[in-house]
Symmetry: C2
Subunit: 156 residues, 2 copies
């Protein structure tokens, strides 16, 4: 592993939306699903506002020493009855900018999210990772996650 | 398959909490995680209230012709930036009372949830099912879900 990058984990702001979408699109799976245009389609900003309004959702970015956004992660805290009424944490859309990978940025973001979920009373944090993302699965196992479930999806 | 049961899918009410928790507990995996006491631990009712307050979460039950609760499902509609800012649907805690299985109740609930997610603008519905629940995986495949992801969890 290259030198660990010192990043600041902070809530995403509206002006980060472009950098976040660029990371979502810069990916074999995400590439076909996003639309990188200038200006960005307004649907991204509408979604950002919906995320901001939802007290149970945290969209985070990792910012490097020069103020550039080099990572993102979304954490949802989901109340529910199971496990004696404990909330669940759900981690989604974890991305690190290509030129910054293998420098511990994903680990810092996921560790932050797991600690936050725990602090908010979750007894479980879960995520789905595409079956082809073998490196991601190893990464999460290293952070203490188990490959306990099958993640099933239906796309319209 | 036995005769299809005619059920009504409706939002859960506070007085359904006991029936829902009983279904969550009546399961090899859920059994060790729940506490069936009389009265039920207040954590279940607190969680029910948190679910009710959250506009993006729908806790549903299936009610049979006699007014008994015989199934439950939780649907979360999660805003997020990916897929051009489309929301995601997450299905959790799907249960059917043991004496009512194989009568189409799970299918009616999941079909309802998928249609609701779609109506609310989701382009994707996702769920995690324990790797040992082979029958559940076949059930979801029959309803159009793909085994596309690995579901990873960390439990505290």
């Amino acid at each position: 592993m290259a030198e660990i990058a010192k990043v600041t984990i902070r809530p995403a702001r509206r002006e980060d939306v472009g950098a976040i979408v660029a990371m979502l699109a810069d990916d074999p799976l995400g590439g076909g699903r996003e639309r990188i245009e200038d200006p960005l389609p307004s649907s991204y900003f509408n979604a950002f506002e919906a995320v901001e309004r939802d007290r149970n959702i945290r969209l985070l970015v990792a910012e490097d020493g020069e103020g550039a956004v080099v990572g993102c992660l979304q954490l949802c805290i989901l109340p529910g009855l199971s496990s004696q009424g404990a909330s669940r944490g759900l981690i989604e859309d974890v991305r690190v900018a290509k030129h910054c990978r293998s420098r511990g940025i994903g680990e810092q973001m996921v560790t932050w999210a797991v600690a936050e979920a725990r602090a908010r009373g979750c007894k479980l944090v879960e995520l789905l990772t595409h079956h082809t993302r073998i490196d991601a699965q190893r990464f999460y196992e290293r952070l203490g996650f188990a490959r306990s479930h099958v993640g099933m999806t239906i796309r319209f």
